[in-house]
Structures are given as structure tokens and as C-alpha cells.
Symmetry: C2
Subunit: 344 residues, 2 copies
């Protein structure tokens, strides 16, 4: 678990039942395309209960909500509390989020989420406490701001390097939302008329650095006869896609194709980050997401090094840090939503 760097966040509840001030316990759920991570945290943001399960890959929105409720129940069981006793629950989700109404739209990676899903209302039915919903990358960034790699920086850029490339901008300690759609650093144009991005545009950072785009390129080049251990490693692990772990393993083995594709991603990341630093002159950059946390600080350092040549005032380039909350950032960030008044 990537969170081992922040052991203070975890506390094992006393099995003999030293009672928690239950009204202060909150739930947080990270709803990802692959997994659901639920936590129960206390007022000091310590994890007192945790549970992880696979996200349903078929069925409807109701099945996903059932899985969320189950994960939360399990985390609550560890924390010796019932879901309805929680002060509230937050959910971080992909897609476009109407935080006011707790409605999620266009979360295409989730079964039954192609249209609009009344996620807050549906989950409230099952867990009988207040449910707030927020954007997955956004809440992860909130967690890094308060508890992780962003703490101590008044401003930073977050880059969530995973299946796609998400991001966020934190200024004066607050996420900058713009008109609601800020933070899309993954759609910085790194090559005009370049590679087709999953978003349908051309030349976006995500088209070079997103795990999905990288996998597509690897499949295409392997299909043309390029030698690689990527798919062998994938099959050995019983997987049907190139996870961050598979990429990391292939890099360790100095696989040429994997190295070349990651190299291309690093160059694209460096250019997009350089441009963003020139515009915003932030104090730091925080890299999270599946690939970001799996590849870790050596790759963050490499990005920093390649970024330097693009920075207008290169005397004090912002440090590039890996998310310290790792794959718990989303659930912890979601827990921050639980008792927050809904933004107007």
C-alpha cells in the first residue's frame, strides 16, 4: 500500500472496543473504474476502518451502488460503527458531478453510468446517512492539500497520471474550479494535430501519457511485430490490460518498447507541466494516479529534470513530488466531503 509513508493516518481500533466519538466518524468512498475503496476516518483524519472491492463491470447503476454500500459496511464493521451512525459519507467519482444534487453524468467507465445517475440519493437509501458526491481527482487533490504532498504549499498543480491524465490547480490552499471545469491538464495540447486522444481531440497530453493510450500504442506496435514483455507479464498476472504494475515491471526488466512509450509520456508530461508552470508559477507539482504513484519519485524526478528546459524562470523550478497518500488519496478526500456544506 502506497500510504505506508503516512502511518499516522492509520490507527487500528482497539478490539476491546474503546468507543470512538461516533458523531465525528466520517465515511469516504473512492469509486474507480477498477476498484472501490472505502474508509471510515475519525476527526483527525485517521483511518479507523478500511475496505476494498472490485467495481462491478456489468449490470446497472444499482449494482454499483450496492457495491459502494457493501464496501462502506465492511469498513464500518472494522471501525465498530454502523453506517447510519456516521456523520456523513463522501464519494469521489469519475464523470461530471453536480455536487448540489449529488448527480453524476458521463462516467463511461462504470456500468449504467452513461447517463445521469442520482448517486447521492441512491446511496443514502442504502446507508441511511448524508451522502455528498465530488469529482474523484478533485477530492484526491483536496486530501493531498490538507494531509499529503500539497500540505505546506500555498499553490500547486496536481497531475493524476493514471488511465487518463486528470489534474487540478490549488491556489491559496483552495482548489481553483473556474466555471466548474478547471484542472484539465491532461488536455494540454502537447502536439498540434498529434495523436488522437480518448476525448476525441488531437495532441492532448493524455493521448501520450494516459495509461489507456499507452496500452493502445503498445498493442499496435506489438501487433506489428515489435518485441515486448508487456503482454506476457499481463497474462502471467491473469490480467486483460496493462496495469501500472505491469508497466513498472516491464521498465524494471528494461523492456525496449515499454521504455520507449514511457519515455514519450515523460516528454509530454514535462512539456505540459512546463507550460503550466510558466502560466501559474506554482510552488510545487504533485503527481498522483495509478502510474504516478506506482512509478514513484524516480520518475517524478525525471519529469522535473525534463521540465526544466521549458521553464521561463529556471532558477527556482517547483519541486515535483509524488502523492504521499497514494491510492488512499481518493477515499480520504471523499471523506472530507462528508460533512462539508455543499458549495453554492
Amino acid at each position: 500500500m502506497q500510504t505506508s509513508a503516512s502511518p499516522h493516518l492509520f490507527s487500528v481500533p482497539d478490539d476491546h472496543g474503546s468507543p470512538q466519538p461516533q458523531a465525528l466518524l466520517r465515511g469516504g468512498i473512492d469509486l474507480g473504474g477498477t476498484k472501490i475503496q472505502a474508509v471510515v476516518v475519525d476527526a483527525e483524519h485517521r483511518v479507523v476502518g478500511s475496505s476494498r472491492r472490485a467495481t462491478p463491470t456489468s449490470g446497472g447503476a444499482g449494482d454499483v451502488v450496492d457495491a459502494l454500500a457493501l464496501a462502506l459496511h465492511e469498513a464500518c464493521r472494522v471501525a465498530h460503527i454502523a453506517p447510519h451512525e456516521l456523520a456523513g459519507v463522501g464519494v469521489g467519482t469519475p464523470g461530471a458531478v453536480d455536487t448540489q444534487r449529488g448527480v453524476v453524468s458521463n462516467a463511461r467507465n462504470l456500468p449504467g453510468f452513461e447517463g445521469a445517475v442520482e448517486l447521492a440519493a441512491m446511496l443514502t437509501e442504502e446507508v441511511d446517512t448524508t451522502v455528498r458526491v465530488g469529482n474523484d481527482v478533485g477530492v484526491a487533490l483536496d486530501a493531498e492539500t490538507l494531509l499529503g504532498a500539497g500540505a505546506g504549499h500555498a499553490s500547486f498543480l496536481g497531475v493524476w497520471w493514471g488511465t487518463g491524465v486528470g489534474g487540478g490547480v490549488v491556489l491559496n490552499g483552495q482548489r481553483w474550479h473556474g466555471r466548474g471545469a478547471a484542472g484539465e491538464i491532461g488536455h494540454t495540447i502537447v502536439k498540434r494535430g498529434g495523436a488522437l486522444c480518448p476525448c476525441g481531440r488531437f495532441g492532448c497530453l493524455e493521448a501520450y501519457a494516459g495509461r489507456r493510450a499507452m496500452e493502445e500504442r503498445a498493442r499496435k506496435q506489438a501487433g506489428r511485430g515489435k518485441r515486448t514483455v508487456l503482454f506476457e507479464l499481463m497474462e502471467k498476472k491473469g490480467l486483460d490490460r496493462l496495469t501500472s504494475g505491469v508497466w513498472a515491471k516491464a521498465l524494471e526488466k528494461e523492456d525496449k518498447l515499454a521504455t520507449r512509450i514511457v519515455d514519450r509520456a515523460l516528454d509530454a508530461l514535462a512539456a505540459a507541466l512546463g507550460s503550466s508552470v510558466n502560466l501559474l508559477d506554482v510552488e510545487a507539482i504533485v503527481i498522483g494516479g495509478g502510474l504516478g504513484t506506482r512509478l514513484g519519485q524516480p520518475y517524478a524526478d525525471e519529469i522535473a529534470s525534463r521540465m526544466r528546459k521549458h521553464i521561463f524562470r529556471p532558477d527556482a523550478p517547483p519541486p515535483v513530488r509524488v502523492s504521499t497518500l497514494g491510492d488512499m488519496a481518493g477515499a480520504l478526500g471523499a471523506s472530507l466531503l462528508a460533512t462539508r456544506p455543499v458549495a453554492v
Copy 2:
């Protein structure tokens, strides 16, 4: 004069001497590489005196300061006030500015400004009132925020499209400074490993859209025998460089080379702005600078149209407006510095 769109900013003082409340009059000077524009404004930011003169192209920093003082004296004469009676004077200057100490460094376009110049102290000697110094593009943006195209927008990106490509970011009605170097949209990487930028890096927006870079390209291509009216127009006007006016005239005449080079600049601007909008989701974009104001709204519209294909949420692209204060934005913005407490 580009400012004709904002006639309320100008008031002709009564020659019979209806006295102004002199303590409220402020001076503002825009110190450019080509011209010095001085204004005297009243408490409502109306221009009650104005003067323009050429920036010295030789000599030392003292000669530049003399020219600043002369321009201010002339503007004061029109406004029936002596410089020492002004509540204060602000100067917008290129280069790196230490606003605390009123010192300008690295303003390489100005004679004698290669090193550090104690501009505030030197000018105070001559005009006998408080002098504050700020960055030229920054103060122009402040003017647009308060009085111009940015008014009514909580957030916008300013792009100063001139000899170079300067810029600024206004968020919640305030310029975002970052660690002091924010706003360098001209150094967005629009082509990795691309054209050499005057800043020494490769592929920056300014290397494609800066007037200086555009002129270099035109000279090179004309040298290779490409036909163009650009240099003919330049000579006819008795100039030694391709001013914004020369470019505008060549475009009017549908000069092929000029059209192609401007086309390339528009594409680069659209990409850099698209990326910036994806990151910040601002309410508007304001285009100023020599080329920006000279080419005007039709070209701003063209940039907006080309930008659309890069925008992640294209349903509500921010409007692209031309600076309404035109070439008075700098002097008006400088006048805003005059009585402002120095930022700590």
C-alpha cells in the same frame, strides 16, 4: 487612437481653469521599447492630460528617465497641474521589477537598462512626487480588469500580443502572481523542439506569434526570394522594422507571405489559449498588445474559432475580446499604481 471606444475615459479640462481637486490627480507612464505614453488621470480614472514621445534609442538610463519626466511634464501642462502636485506617479516598464524598491532589471530593449536601474528613485528626483514601478503587461491587465475588457469578469486570461507575447492571469478579480513570475503564456510550449524563441528556449508561443519572431521569419523567407509587400510598406513609412501597422496593411493587401506567417501565429495562439482554458476554465480572454489591438476583433474571433477544437468542454468557450483600452492600457494601469500601497 485605440481608446476611442472608451470616450468616457477622456475629459478635456476647461481652459478657463475650473480647478481639479489636485490631490486626487495621478500620473501614469507606460515605458515601452518604442514610445513613452504619459497620462494624468482624475479620481474617476478620466484622462485629463496626455502626452506621447519616442523612447530614446541610445544613451543611458538617465536619458530614458529624462524622457519620462518630460512626457509627464507635458501631460501635466495639459491638465493644469505641476508634477509635484500629483498624488503620485506609476510607471509600467518591461523587464523584471522589484516593486518594493522600484528597481528594474534586464529591460534589454531600453538603453542603459541591461543591469539594474533604480527607476523610482531617479524619477522621483526629477518630478518630486512618489513614484511606483510595476511590470508593463501586469499594469495594463490591471487597467483592463478595472476599466476595460476584463471588467465584469471574475476571471480572465490576458494575452499581450506584441513584440513578444506577454500575459497575465486574473482570478477572483485579482492578478495571480504565483511566486512572482506567473502569466508567461508566451512561453507555453506549442511545439516541442520547435522554433527558437527569443527567450532561448524552443517551441514557445512567442517563437511563432511574437512580432519580433514573425519579422525574423519574414526577412528569412524574403531573403530566399519569397515575394512580399511587407518590406516595401515598411520603407514607405520610413520604418526599419515591421510594425503592427505594417502587418495590418499587408494583410489588407492579402500579401501571401504575411498571411501565412500570421496564420501560423493564430494557430499557435489558439493552441496555447486552448490549453490554458482547459487548465483554468476562465470566464474570458482579453487580447491586447500592439498586434492584438491593431488587428482587432476580427482576428480575436478567428483565434476563438481555432481555439474551440482544443477546448475540453466546448459547450461554453470563453469569449475572446480585444482590449478596450488599447494602447492606453499601460499608462492607465500605471496610474493605478500611483497611490497604491506597495505589496508586501
